[in-house]
Amino acid sequence: MAKLYLFGIGGTGARVIRSLTMLLAAGVKCNATEIIPVLIDPDRENGDLRRTEKLLNKYCEIRRYQKEDKQTGEKKPALSFISSKDRLNAFFKMPILESDFGINEPKPGFVMPITIVNGDKQSFKSHIDYDNLSEETKALANMLFSQANLDLQLEFGFKGNPNIGSIVLNQFESKDSVLKKIFTSFQPNDRIFIVSSIFGGTGSSGFPLLLKTLRKNWAMDKNSELAFSENVRNACIGAVTVMPYFQISGGDSKTMVNSQTFISKTIAAMDYYHKDIIGKEKDQDTSSCLNYLYSIADYDHTKENERNEGGENQVNNAHFVELASALAICHFMNKNIVQNDSEKHITKKMRFGIDSQGETGEIIYSNLARDTLEALRKPLTQLWLFSRYIHEKGGSEFNGTPAGSLFESSFFSEDHGFYKIIKEFLKEFDNYLYEMEQTRSFVPYTSHKDEDIFLRIRGVGEKKKRFFAANETGWDLLITQLNKQREVLKGQYPEERFLEIFYRGTLNSMKERLTDW
């Protein structure tokens, strides 16, 4: 197994990493030792970016939750996540690590700082020092960039202009780039994955630049003392490029962010990718190609996102395409890649599809292809059951059950501690699922509170009732299965037992109640 260096460029990159965080929290299989996500977006206040950053921090907060040892008084991690026979829990199992973006002093985080010359509130014109350019260069700049482009304030990103992004993001290559700092511990088997959209500004310009920097430029720097650059150059690199999958409400040809231009931008970028990024059989130059390219798009643009040209208000609802893109990351890591020299330069192209969709356009689990179904349904439903129990029944009710009575009542405090953080994360998970219902209508669960909780999972069959068995349903079945686990990890920290009990309880109750699990 290897580390994964994951780059999310622009708003789509951030949203896909949000989806991946949800999948990892649920325990979806991703064959990596640890994941190092790096979010790249010049619009530091972007709502999507901030939301993903917060979620990643919350995930790490759960994993690193510390507990004071009663005997020594020393603080120790409450969750060990050791793989052993008596530890089945996969919730939050995958380590997600911050990168150190500090040049002189440690500065851990998930968002890579992008420097826009002389402060953040700069127009593109001043970024390229337009006023001091020679007349000839000015004329060239005027040919390449419109007046609106030149006057664009960069604090809110590139607003769908890859031609601007390709200039500003060239700083990846600079010698003191923080990008180099990220890769200092890169090992030969580690992998790199880049998430970007192809129809916007930041992602479509940042992706080829980043790839070029990793594959070519560092290695070409003869004076480079970067010991890891050779490893990075030869690394297995995958990418998901997200093609248009939503429309933006309002706007006309004069507005910067305009969904009418999505397709034309996509075609132009695809043409460039085809020439420069996708390695073909006849190519002999292996240096700049991708190993795996995942493409995804959605033709259903009937539901529009609200128009927000960057900043804190740009918070788009989660979309099924982002979830599928996050699955591409897991797919890339789960692949056993042994490349021989002859095929090293050939880019393997992957596409995603679903089997069918409901009459109303809704997608439920039974609409997914078999591989997707197997990867997604069980872990996601376990986390959903966990979340539903915590939000509909609550810690105090759990405290009254045999399994819950193992915990001090203070464990279920809503104001502080582990339970509070878990509850907040699960709230985010609920919102995430709700948002997906609003966009592409991925509705795997219904929200009818009166119904048996297991029958709220859509498109599943019930097991037949057995003679002389309890045949419990709904919450009673889940509680029974949680109670059955009350002896697990005896003597361990309650935080670890709590996750283990819910992981096993949710898994067993689904097997007990539903067919084909």
Partner: protein, 142 residues
């Protein structure tokens, strides 16, 4: 069982009934009616408690009211068996002659004993139950 019945029946109920119940059952090699009836009652309590804690081991049963209902059902069954059995032995061919008031009294004794036995079995079986470990009484943070 004889000793337990001996505590209540002759003093509180009826000396005649006590004497009849003390007789050995024909062909039983030394088993009195008390013994036979007592074993049946204990078995009923045992099976009833086992049913409650292992078979009817539902999350919804983790309530004192559910346990109390089961206890009352067990006690009523025992009351009914005792009363009907004695009533059946009045007249031919057994020629017992126990007044209805005393039959009812004997039923009450069995009702009470069944409740006590059910309670004792409850404390044994609750530890092997999945959902009902807190009934009849809850000991938090065990």
């Amino acid at each position: 069982m004889e000793k337990i019945y001996n505590l209540f029946v002759p003093r509180l109920i009826c000396e005649d009934l006590h004497n009849e119940m003390y007789q050995f059952v024909e062909g039983s090699e030394g088993w009195a009616y008390y013994d036979i009836l007592g074993i049946i009652f204990i078995l009923i309590c045992f099976v009833s408690a086992l049913f409650f804690y292992k078979i009817f081991d539902k999350a919804s049963g983790n309530r004192t009211t559910a346990w109390l209902t089961q206890l009352i059902i067990t006690a009523v069954i025992n009351f009914a068996i005792a009363a009907l059995w004695i009533h059946g032995r009045n007249g031919d061919p057994h020629n017992w002659d126990i007044e209805t008031f005393f039959i009812f009294g004997f039923g009450i004794v069995n009702f009470t004993l069944a409740a006590v036995y059910f309670l004792i079995f409850s404390f044994i079986f609750k530890n092997i139950s999945i959902n009902n470990i807190h009934t009849p009484f809850k000991f938090p943070n065990k």
